[in-house]
C-alpha cells in the first residue's frame, strides 16, 4: 500500500506494472481497477496551457495514507497505489494515478471510485491554471460528469 507525491512526469502504466511486480501480487489478484487523471488543455470554456499544483505536504502525505487505511477497512484489498503530481504540469501529462488490486472485481472497482472522490474532495491539493489572460486559481473541482 503506497502513496507517493512526486514532482516529475511519470507513466502511470509503467508505475502500475512496476508496483504489481514489486508487491509480488502474481497469482493472488483477480482484479485491478485504475483511475488515471490527465491534464486537459481546457477548463470552464477557456484554454489552459499548464498548471501548478500546490499542496500542504505534511497533511497531504498524512491524508493519503489515511485514505488507503480506510479503504483497506472498507474493502478486501490486496494492494493500493496512489501517485499524485505536484509542481508544474502541462497538458496531456498525468496528474494522478489510483490503482487497486483485489481477488474479485467489486472490491477494487468500488474502492477505486471511493478513493478518487475522497481525494478530490478532501486531500489538500490546489490547482493554479495558466490561461491566455494569465494565471488563475481553480476555485472548485468539476462535478466529474
Amino acid at each position: 500500500m503506497t502513496a507517493q507525491i512526486i514532482k516529475h512526469i511519470f507513466d502511470p502504466w509503467q508505475a502500475i506494472a512496476k508496483h504489481q511486480e514489486a508487491a509480488n501480487l502474481s497469482q493472488k489478484f483477480g482484479a485491478t481497477a485504475t483511475f488515471v487523471g490527465t491534464m486537459r488543455d481546457f477548463n470552464d470554456n477557456a484554454d489552459v496551457s499548464a498548471m501548478t499544483l500546490e499542496h500542504y505536504p505534511a497533511m497531504t502525505a498524512h491524508y493519503l495514507e489515511k485514505l488507503i487505511e480506510e479503504a483497506k477497512i472498507k474493502w478486501p484489498l490486496l494492494d493500493v497505489l496512489i501517485i499524485h503530481r505536484v509542481g508544474e504540469i502541462t497538458s496531456s501529462e498525468t496528474i494522478m494515478l489510483i490503482a487497486c488490486w483485489s481477488a474479485h472485481r467489486r472490491a477494487s472497482l468500488d474502492a477505486c471510485n471511493w478513493l478518487i472522490e475522497e481525494l478530490k474532495h478532501r486531500a489538500p491539493f490546489w490547482k493554479k491554471e495558466t490561461r491566455p489572460d494569465g494565471e488563475r486559481w481553480v476555485e472548485k473541482n468539476t462535478d466529474g460528469l
Binding site: 499542496h55 481525494l119 490546489w126 473541482n141
Partner: protein
Amino acid sequence: MTIHVKFFASLKDKLNLEDTTVEQANTAGQAWDIATDNADRPSNVLVAINLEYAQFDDTIKAGDEVAFFPPVTGG
C-alpha cells in the same frame, strides 16, 4: 504559547501570508484573527489543526499547527 499558522493557495496570495506564528490564541478562529489582523474570513475557508480537518471554534494549544486554505482542487 506559540501556535504555528499556515496559509495555502489563493488564500496565501490574497492575504500575502504563508507561515507565521501567533501567541495567546485559544481557538483556530482566534489564530486567524491574530495572524491576519482581523481580516474578513471568506465563508469557504477550511481549517486544519495538526493535519486534521477542524472547526474554527476548536481549541488549540501551544505547539499546534493551524492551517487555513480554500476548497481543495486536486485529482
